[in-house]
Symmetry: C2
Subunit: 226 residues, 2 copies
């Protein structure tokens, strides 16, 4: 089509100036919708109706973008509670919930050092609520809870994806992986595992998470009171 008959582009109302916040929000929207691997600087820039290189005025590297995304999610994690146990419990549950809302979060937590303001703020809230008791105890306790949550959430999301990938419901999952597991169990090389899978408890994800967390908090409490 000739230039003459092609209409001019509608001069956009600038759509608001670019900013780190707008960039990160758009990136999170992308990741929530299509997964972390859908977040490329080109797609992100396109979503913001901008050239890819514009972004490098706000971030120096893609990893920095990911760091900003992680820190933004930490803003949703605000532990609360009266005693230290309630606080740690709420920290764990809030983190888990955030990972459910942003599955890509599970791929990132623990993977890079986190020193962003929101991450520091939730750390601050936890430490402050622990009530000044012996730092030699509270610091490892917080670290342990964090570690547990990271691992638990990761596995949970991984499982959820696997289920979703093979089919919508549990029936189809058993149909997809069942044959393989049946065959490998039929070799007799994993008798104990076989009994677990057949006779073991079928806890849902919530229960499993809470049970593990309770183990840990019980152990911490024992040291606290002694």
């Amino acid at each position: 089509m000739l230039v003459w008959e092609r209409p001019e582009p509608p001069d956009r109302p600038v759509l608001g100036r670019l900013s780190r916040e707008r960039i990160v929000r758009a990136a999170i929207r992308l990741a929530d919708a299509d997964g972390l691997e859908a977040v490329s600087l080109r797609k992100l820039a396109a979503a913001l109706e901008v050239g890819p290189m514009r972004l490098y005025g706000y971030i120096a590297t893609k990893d920095e973008l990911l760091d900003l995304m992680v820190d933004a999610v930490h803003a949703e994690i605000r532990p609360a509670g009266d005693d230290w146990r309630a606080v740690l419990h709420s920290l764990a549950q809030a983190t888990r919930q955030a990972a459910h809302q942003h599955e890509w979060f599970a791929d990132l937590i623990g993977g890079r050092p986190q020193l962003g303001p929101n991450t520091l703020a939730s750390g601050e809230a936890v430490v402050a609520a622990m009530g000044g008791v012996d730092l030699d105890l509270t610091v490892p306790a917080i670290a342990a809870v964090n570690a547990y949550v990271i691992g638990a959430v990761r596995r949970e999301i991984t499982e959820r994806r696997a289920e979703r990938a093979t089919g919508v419901d549990k029936k189809q999952w058993q149909a997809a992986l069942g044959p393989y597991l049946e065959r490998t169990f039929a070799t007799g090389r994993f008798p104990a595992l076989a009994t677990v899978v057949r006779d073991g408890p079928h806890l849902d994800a919530d229960q499993t998470f809470r049970t593990g967390l309770d183990f840990l908090l019980d152990g911490i409490e024992a040291r606290f009171s002694s």
Copy 2:
């Protein structure tokens, strides 16, 4: 140089036929030496003196290669011990040690479902050694320990990398990050964190890991005996 004076390539003794095991071993060597991001199918194929497409006869996708690598590492994780507590403890320590030897392992664990033979075998060993006690208790216990280890190891490796990136020793780390932390603490927004960093315990990585693990095992033991 002219063809005539250029020596023929030494006709290699075929170097052994290709196989999944050889491929995975080479990939692990690459990852150990230069990090996970250095493992590309092209570099891997080059290391095996083969065209890149050859590999697709042995794996269907790069993710499958990563799965194989993870399972190969699990072969080094063979928990042992007399009672259940010793077994879980040894499982945790062995996993940690594996992650120290193969830092990329920390990036991968918990990230994809693991059903390879070596992973199953170490699971089998653990379950078998738990001594037939109540499955409703042992299954969540194992899950919890696994979750803790995944998270703890991830954070540990992350920290190690951060230290290495900023300089060889701790002195340089404080010099690199100190200013930033000083400034943010000076804002007064994170008073509790500031005290922790200044007055808190400076545990080494071994201690931290063991302490958290002990918390968890204590909590599990309490349920076991009640």
